[in-house]
Structures are given as C-alpha cells and as structure tokens.
C-alpha cells in the first residue's frame, strides 16, 4: 500500500523557493498516522443548504486518493473545501475541521492565499489564461515571489512542462496563446501551471472529463509520475480511472434527509483494491456494480 514511508526526496527543478513541499522525511509522521490533509466532522453549507455532512477522512502523503460517487453527492464541494476555494462562493460555509500538516485551515488566523499556494488545483474544464503558454506557467511562480533570474524562470517553465509531459509538443510555440492548444494539451498546461508553483498537494476535479481516451491516458500516466513528488486528490466519475491510478478511494453518496434536503456523506474510504473487490458497505457495492438507482 501507499502508506509505505517512501522518502524519495524531490528536488525542485531550480532554485525555486518552495513554500509547500520541502525536502523532508515523511516517514515519521506517516508512522504516527498523520495525513497531509485531514478532515474531521466537516459539514459544508451553501446558505442554509447542507451539501455534505460529517466528513472525516485522512489523505496520505505521496498518494493518489480518488473521490467517487453519484452526481450531486458533493465531491467537488468536498474538494474545494480542502483548499478554501469555496471562499469564492459567497454563500458557502464550512463547519468542522480541515487540517493541513496539522494546522486547521479554517482557523481565523489562517490566510487562504497561503493555503492555495500550497494546495494547488486543476479544474474539470481546462482553464488556461488567455496568455502565452510561457506566461501561463510563469505567472503563478511570479506572484508566488519567484526570485530567480530570467533563465531560471525559463528552466522552471521547461521543467514544469516536462513534468506535465507537454514540453515536446509546445517547445517551439511557447509564445502562442494557451487557448490555441487542444483540450488535452490545455489540461496538461493547467497541470504544469499548478506544479510550477511548487505545491505540496494537487487537487483535481474530474480532470479528464473533457478529454478523449488517449489524452486521458496521458494524464493518468502523468498523475502516476507526479505522485512521487506530490500528494494528489482526484474527483472522478470513471471508476476504471480510480482503480487504475489511486491508492485509496472514497465513495460518497447522497440521501434525502427528513426535511427533503439532498445531503452528501462519506460512505467509505478504503484502499482502492479493497473498495473495488470487497466493499465494506452495501451502497458501495451497488454503485460499483452499476446497480445504483
């Protein structure tokens, strides 16, 4: 299982100041059972509407964790709660605790900007900036206080594009608009953009839903490579994908409560092979075997 203390230390491509991930041993803490992100009794509301209730999970270091479940069960909501992207939705509110490296990110003293530079995000629809490919990647580093020279920046951009397996395809057109790329390339550009800011964790919300099978495959390979250096949490509707890439999978479900609200909840969070071969809960089994309402 992925909880093994693999201590492959990653050196960032250049002399980038590294806000989140640091050279360190993850062994000690993993042994104590601490995850990179932990939630405890987390509820998320949109106004008065409770979208997800009572989520308690622990995401491990350097592992791909998958969130699956029927549409509307609150997967995206949970994911956004993990790096405070929900702050952008005025009505959204989070109860309970979300801890990152042990610190509660909803503590009033915490700066959401600091959270997001450590916990990057890739969205369902590719959303490159309407700027050149180069600037798409360089901007994130710049606003995060990149101190290197121009050539350092070029190295950083190249490194990120290489990691995202996009370099060979775009190396001759770095000045062209990011929007000129194909959908799959755009999504890899967004991933490159996210890793160029040297995050610690990457959240991905259905990153392949807009892509064809070949592009999907490339992104999956990419995730498997990235997991050496990053902790990844991915939302997917594709159970094969979850089975192929993730170490642990969480199944969410949604139920009508007594007041008629559709509130999502966590059914189980198990190692992926277990969840797909011998699910602990009946609902999980129904869902993965396609017998789901």
């Amino acid at each position: 299982m992925t909880d093994t203390p693999d201590a492959t230390v990653v050196t960032p491509p250049t002399t980038v100041p590294n806000p989140g991930s640091g050279a360190a041993e993850s062994g000690t803490s993993s042994a104590q059972g601490t995850g990179v992100i932990e939630t405890e009794n987390m509820d998320v509301f949109y106004g008065d509407f409770k979208a997800v209730a009572d989520v308690t999970m622990k995401f491990a270091f350097n592992e791909i964790s998958a969130l699956i479940g029927p549409s509307g069960c609150g997967k995206s909501t949970v994911l956004r709660a993990l790096n405070r992207m929900n702050d952008l939705i005025p009505s959204a509110r989070v109860d309970g605790e979300v801890r990152y490296h042990g610190a509660n990110i909803y503590d009033p003293s915490v700066d959401p900007v600091e959270i997001r530079r450590r916990i990057g995000m890739v969205f369902q629809k590719p959303n490159p900036f309407p700027k050149s490919i180069y600037d798409n990647i360089a901007w994130g580093a710049k606003i995060n206080g990149f101190k290197g020279s121009k050539s350092d920046m070029r190295d950083l951009v190249q490194g990120a594009l290489e990691q995202a397996a996009l370099w060979d395809e775009v190396k001759d057109k770095l000045t062209e608009s990011g929007l000129s790329l194909s959908g799959g390339q755009q999504q890899r550009l967004c991933i490159a953009r996210a890793i160029a800011t040297q995050p610690d964790v990457i959240l991905m919300d259905e990153p392949c839903s807009a892509l064809d099978p070949i592009a999907t495959l490339r992104i999956e390979e990419l995730m498997l490579e990235l997991k050496e250096n990053y902790s990844i949490i991915i939302v997917t509707h594709n159970m094969q994908q979850a089975a192929r890439v993730s170490g642990k999978t969480a199944f969410f479900n949604v139920e009508l409560d007594t007041t008629g609200q559709r509130t999502g909840y966590l059914v189980e969070f198990s190692p992926t092979d277990e969840l797909f071969t011998s699910p602990r809960m009946k609902a999980t089994e129904d869902y993965i075997t396609g017998r789901f309402g």
Binding site: N18, S30, Y100
Partner: protein, 322 residues
C-alpha cells in the same frame, strides 16, 4: 527551507498565518472609496437641491401652498405656482410617448420576432446612431425642420415655438430607449413559450402579439416608464423648440382645456425654465437663483419616482419566471 513534511507543528500554523498585505488592503480601500464617491454625489445633489429650495420657500413671496396650488408662474410678478411648468412638461411627455411607444414597440417586435439577421444588422446600428446624437442637435432639428413642417401642414396657427414640434422630436429621441428595453424584455421570454405557441398552430403574429408581448409586458412597461422619465428630464429640445413662456391658466376659465391642451402653442417646461434662467447671468441668492433649485427638486423627485417604479415592475417580472 521551512516545513518538514507531516510535522504536526505549530510551525505550519505560523506559516499559514495571515500576511498583512498592506498594498492589497490599500488598493481595496481605494476601490471602495471610488465606489463610495457615488454616495457623495447623491448627498451633494440632495443637499444642494434641499438647501436652496429651503431658501426659496423661506422667501416672503413664496409659500408652499402657492407653489403647489397656484396656476401661475411669473417670477417677475412674484407668483410662483409650479403647475404651468408641470403642465408643459406633461404635454410634451405625452406627445413624445405617443410617438415613441408605437414606433419603439414596433421596432422591438419587428427586430426580435421577424427581422432577418441582415435587416437586424442594418436597423440596430441606425437605432444606436440615434442614441448617440446629442440632444442639442435634436433641438436644432426641431426648430429648423419640424416646426416649419408643422407650419406648412397646419398653417400659421402653429406658433414659432410650439409644444407639438418639441414633443415629436423628444419622441424620436426616446424611440431607441423604448425599443431596446422592450427588446430586452422580449428576449427574456423563454423560447419554450414561443415553441409551445407555434406547436399549437399559432402564426408568427399571433405568437408575438398574444404570447410574447403579454409575457414581456411588465418588462415593456418598465421600459416605457424609463423612457418617460427621460422625456421629463429632457432639456435642450424643449428649451429651443417650445419657448420660454409658461402656460399660465386659471381654473375658473371657460376655455381652460382648449388653452392648456393646445399643442400648437409654446409652453415652458420645468427643465426649460431652469436652463433659460441659468443661461442669463444669474446672481447667487436671488429668488430666481433659488427658484431653479425648487424646480430641480421637483424634477428630481418625479424622475426618481419613475425610475424606482420601473425597477419595481422589473423585479416583479423576474419573479414570474423563477
């Protein structure tokens, strides 16, 4: 290097702590001030209209009662009854709406329900150009084209300054407003409603007149009210084309209606009075100076009322489709 991965530490809490971000706060602060300037403008308007009007009403020649109930406006003679000016404004507004509602609505219905893209692409810019023409040019047009035209049609009973010419031209001026607001309202009618109507065998006309227009009615009404407020506040056309003498009348007069409703004679409006009075060398703290603010306050209240009425209509309209 800072964090040790997975260290359950107070150090992480410290790293995540809020940064002062002074520059950002300064920016947001200035942006807020930019937004708040609009409040200062409103306060400025209310203060200036209010205080000068107060001075006006404190004058010995003027009483509130006379202002609101007298039917004579002749500052030289010391009589300040606002009705003649309101009457002039109303006459012109009504004529303007008589022109603008049929033309503007037809344009809107035609553009949104019938017109081919080619016709649309021709007509939309025409309406946009109309919006861009300054009102003083419309005033010139009223005086040099519309008035002579009316005189050649109706003869010399049409005065050199007359309400009809001003009203028609103000109507032309607000046509684009009526049509664009009405078009917006009709565009907001869900297509499913049109399809349902066509599906029942209704023709295009029946669909647009019996389904789309009624469904968009409140939006259209709101547009008409906004256009009305625009006509009430219009200044240059009425100043140039409708003359500088208020239509004083007396309620006891037999020929009351013939006189006050005659479209062929001039009539000063509220805006016309303000513009004419201010264009001479007006000295501060005279009764004339103060009187324009009292008129301005009345004008402000009327247009504000019309605009809020229209917004209330629109709000109700939105609820219907939710």
């Amino acid at each position: 290097m800072s964090t040790e991965r997975g260290v359950h530490d107070a150090d992480m809490a410290r790293q995540l702590a809020r940064k002062p971000r002074r520059f950002e706060r300064l920016i947001v602060g200035s942006l807020f001030i930019a937004g708040a300037i609009s409040i200062a403008i409103t306060i400025g308007i209310l203060w200036e209209l209010g205080s000068e009007s107060l001075l006006f009403f404190l004058d010995d020649d003027v009483t509130l009662g006379k202002f609101f109930f007298s039917t004579e406006w002749s500052p030289q003679a010391g009589s300040f009854g606002i009705w003649p000016l309101i009457l002039g404004t109303m006459l012109i507004t009504v004529i303007a709406l008589l022109v603008a509602i049929p033309v503007g609505l037809s344009a809107a219905i035609y553009l949104s329900e019938y017109a081919s893209p080619r016709v649309r692409n021709f007509l939309k810019p025409v309406l946009e150009i109309l919006v861009g023409i300054p009102t003083v040019v419309f005033g010139f047009f009223a005086l040099t084209f519309m008035t002579p035209l009316l005189r050649s049609i109706f003869g010399s009973q049409v005065g050199f300054f007359n309400v009809l010419s001003a009203g028609i031209v103000v109507g032309l001026l607000i046509v684009p407003l009526v049509s664009s607001l009405a078009e917006d309202a009709m565009a907001a009618v869900p297509d499913s409603l049109r399809q349902a109507s066509y599906g029942l065998g209704a023709s295009r006309l029946e669909t647009s007149l019996r389904v789309v227009v009624p469904a968009a009615l409140s939006g259209i009404a709101a547009g008409v009210v906004v256009a009305m407020s625009r006509a009430v506040g219009e200044t240059m056309v009425v100043t140039l084309a409708s003359g500088a003498s208020p239509r004083n009348f007396s309620l006891a007069d037999d020929s009351l209606f013939g006189y006050i409703l005659s479209p062929f004679e001039g009539a000063q409006t509220m805006t016309g009075y303000i513009a004419i009075t201010a264009s001479g060398d007006i000295s501060y703290d005279t009764i004339d100076y103060n009187s324009i603010f009292a008129i301005g306050l009345t004008l402000f209240v009327i247009t504000l009322g019309l605009n809020s009425l229209s917004r209330r209509i629109v709000k109700r309209f939105r609820q219907e489709y939710e």
